[in-house]
């Protein structure tokens, strides 16, 4: 069972699935970072008008399983959408951006991206929040004493440090995004885990199919880990907190 390797065709499927996994996790990481920052700002806002909805969002998305959320978005929410919107989402559209055309993603891709982003953002928001809390209060007082406006205090003093403090846990969340993207196979998105099951169906080489997929996941995590260590060395967090 171990002596047979996978035919190039099936390795190709796995590589293709791996590409989807990487692209999806990268897009989710970017979108979830932006959304997470917004949620964090909402959560720490002095006004309850902002902090309570943010609090509710974090609580709901952090305390329910991603699988159930994905099922809800893909099967449940699309049952609620008006038919016209669904048809529009499902038909390929073409936008020609400057040099290259952008292919319209499948509905699985949209739902997977949407579900993963909303979920990941809730975790990233909390990492940012502890980053902000990690900025010593004295710094803010000092900046205010120097005559900085509240906005300047935020942009020039709090944010840069908070970012640096939250970098390691943030990278942890990006790793989670890669691993969690495996759940989108349940809604038919042809990423790496989906591809490994498909190769298994056609070749019955369970060990090889899962082995290659597992190795690719671990490789990705190692690369993120190394990138994190490199970034950390270049710009260590203030006071080496959160190392």
């Amino acid at each position: 069972m171990l002596d047979e390797l996978l035919a190039p065709k099936y390795l190709g499927w796995l590589i293709e699935g791996f590409g989807v996994t990487l692209l999806l996790s990268a897009l989710v990481s970017v979108a979830a970072t932006a959304l997470g920052l917004a949620l964090c700002l909402g959560r720490i806002a002095p006004s309850r008008l902002w902090s309570w909805p943010a609090r509710a969002w974090l609580s709901v998305f952090r305390n329910t399983p991603l699988l159930v959320q994905l099922f809800f978005w893909y099967f449940g929410a699309s049952a609620l959408m008006p038919e016209g919107l669904l048809i529009w989402l499902n038909t390929p559209h073409h936008w020609d951006l400057a040099l290259f055309g952008v292919r319209w993603p499948s509905f699985e891709y949209l739902a997977g991206f949407f579900g993963l982003t909303l979920y990941t953002a809730a975790f990233i928001a909390e990492e940012f929040r502890s980053g902000v809390r990690g900025v010593p209060a004295g710094q803010i007082a000092a900046a205010q004493a120097l005559g900085f406006t509240p906005l300047q205090v935020w942009l020039n003093v709090v944010m840069p440090q908070a970012f640096r403090i939250s970098l390691p846990p943030l990278l942890g969340q990006y790793m989670n995004a890669v691993k969690n993207s495996s759940l989108t196979m349940a809604i038919g998105l042809a990423e790496l885990s989906y591809a490994s099951r498909q190769v298994e169906t056609e070749t019955f080489k369970t060990f090889q199919a899962f082995g290659v997929a597992t190795a690719l996941y671990i490789l990705t995590i190692i690369v993120i880990e190394l990138a994190g260590q490199w970034l950390q060395r270049r710009r260590p967090a203030p006071g080496a907190a959160g190392a």
């Binding site: 305390n63 699988l67 159930v68 099967f75 049952a79 899962f210």
Partner: protein
């Protein structure tokens, strides 16, 4: 929306086929969570202490092993344990056992690092003072270090357990009849109520997890380590 589908199948969602069949549904989710939480806590403590007490090659091997379980997606580990262990080594782990093993290994690996960090967070003077009192390293750990470090770790334990409750839903891929699995069975049979069913299921998980989170916050406040 029509939630009668939830009312009609309520006992199946909560208990599975029990008492005429094996326990399933939300009750099985709870059972899987509790057992995996305990096992991951023990593993986390053992490996975390091992991380703190080892140096050199042993330390690196341990790091590598823990790194593997932190890098592999839960779904993949569940597949490996359920389908490949029997083929490769002739070890047969039943479905529920697979979930407990996979979740506690992964949870334990994360917790090991929290435990390690908790032990490291104490000033080195604590170790030195213990040594000056004539305690051996093991005694120092047990009598001086752990009693101080454990309360610091409580929030990360509870956060990990919340993640674990949610991850029991992945038992669905190998047909273990926990809440998500029985919910898809009903959704598949009734066909037209996925929104209602998955909203209800999300609510049940939400109740489980936020109860845990509330406990975490309460404990964190008690030990003065900030909100979880």
């Amino acid at each position: 929306m029509d939630f009668t589908v939830v009312a009609d199948n309520f006992s199946y969602f909560m208990l599975g086929a029990w008492p005429d069949g094996p326990l399933g549904g939300a009750a099985l989710t709870l059972a899987l969570s509790v057992v995996s939480a305990l096992a991951s806590g023990v593993l986390g403590l053992v490996f975390g202490i091992a991380l703190a007490m080892t140096r050199g090659a042993a330390h690196n091997v341990l790091l590598l092993g823990l790194g593997f379980f932190r890098a592999i997606p839960v779904i993949m580990l569940i597949f490996w344990t359920y389908f490949l262990l029997p083929i490769l080594f002739g070890i047969d782990v039943p479905g529920t056992g697979t979930v407990v093993v996979a979740l506690s290994l992964i949870g334990g690996s994360y917790l090991a690092h929290s435990v390690h960090a908790g032990i490291l967070s104490l000033p080195p003077g604590q170790w030195q003072a213990a040594a000056a009192l004539g305690l051996r390293r093991g005694q120092a750990l047990r009598l001086v270090i752990l009693p101080q470090a454990l309360p610091i770790m409580v929030p990360s334990f509870i956060n990990q357990w919340v993640a674990l409750v949610k991850d029991t839903s992945l038992a669905y891929v190998i047909g273990v009849g926990e809440l998500s699995f029985v919910a898809t069975q009903v959704s598949n049979r009734e066909m037209v109520y996925p929104t209602e069913i998955f909203l209800f299921v999300a609510l049940v998980y939400f109740i489980f997890c936020s109860t845990l989170e509330l406990c975490a916050n309460r404990v964190a406040r008690r030990f003065g380590t900030g909100a979880g």
